[in-house]
């Protein structure tokens, strides 16, 4: 089975691009693929623990935690993007790694398919 690398810069609240990225990850995993999900910029907030689900906003924490615990979703957050937002190591959702942008480029190296969602 293949490996899909997805990178996203879009915010958890205010954009549905992350929602799309997580749904795509889930669909790929259901087909037996593995997914590396890189969250950078405002997208780092996807990987912050303690998110409260409101019906007005995308609430992806449970889904992401479930996919990670099943083993085929690997989420890595941009460390400097997180720190700049006051989101520290202790605030990180269990199972999420923190790294620099070079981790993302390295993941793209071995990806069978690659999707980058830039913008805001």
């Amino acid at each position: 089975m293949g490996k899909l690398t997805i990178g996203c810069f879009s915010s958890l609240v205010g954009s549905l691009s992350l929602d799309f990225a997580v749904k795509l990850s889930e669909a790929a995993i259901q087909k037996g693929h593995s997914v590396d999900l890189w969250v950078s910029g405002n997208a780092t907030m996807l990987s912050k623990k303690g998110q409260k689900a409101f019906k007005d906003y995308s609430a992806l924490a449970k889904k992401v935690e479930g996919l990670m615990s099943a083993g085929n979703l690997h989420v890595t957050a941009c460390e400097s993007c997180a720190e700049a937002r006051g989101y520290h190591e202790d605030d990180t959702m269990e199972g999420v790694k923190r790294a620099g942008g070079d981790w993302y480029l390295a993941s793209s190296f071995s990806a069978d398919r690659f999707l980058h969602i830039g913008g805001d």
């Binding site: 990178g7 810069f9 950078s40 910029g41 405002n42 993007c81 620099g100 942008g101 070079d102 981790w103 993302y104 480029l105 390295a106 993941s107 793209s108 190296f109 990806a111 690659f114 980058h116 830039g118 913008g119 805001d120």
Partner: protein, 137 residues
């Protein structure tokens, strides 16, 4: 030993959103990607400024003065200093009434030898077709 080419397409305005800054910092991160790869493997970024993205290349940006943050011009100079390929779309430069004199074309003041190039969109399209992965920002 293998090389994967990554095409960073920057079409967003500077400062309005973080997109162009993230594109450049990720492209620059290619310099340290080796710690994650096998010996001899590498990634090679190409940074292309298209559409509104060409405004990232304007000289004399005063972001430190006004926002207290590093300028996108500085990131372009850092990219050139690292010998990354930087292409700027000619049609968009012309469309906005800009010219080479108004844009960051080199990092000579920092000792860099690599220069940015203003090229027709057809050349940028060739880059898009030749890279392994495209990253629109």
């Amino acid at each position: 030993m293998a090389t994967r080419k990554l095409g960073f397409m920057v079409s967003t305005l500077p400062y309005k959103i973080e997109g162009s800054r993230l594109a450049m910092t990720h492209a620059i991160a290619s310099q340290s990607v080796g710690i994650y790869l096998e010996d001899g493997d590498m990634v090679e970024p190409v940074v292309c400024f298209i559409g509104d993205g060409v405004f990232n290349c304007i000289k004399n940006q005063q972001s430190m003065k006004h926002y207290g943050i590093t300028s996108l011009a500085q990131h372009i100079k850092n990219s050139l200093l690292l010998d990354l390929t930087v292409l700027i779309c000619k049609e968009d430069v012309d469309k906005f009434g800009l010219n080479e004199d108004a844009l960051i074309m080199d990092a000579e003041d920092m000792g860099g030898k690599t220069k940015a190039k203003i090229v027709p969109f057809s050349e940028i399209r060739r880059v898009m077709e030749s890279v392994d992965h495209l990253l629109f920002n």
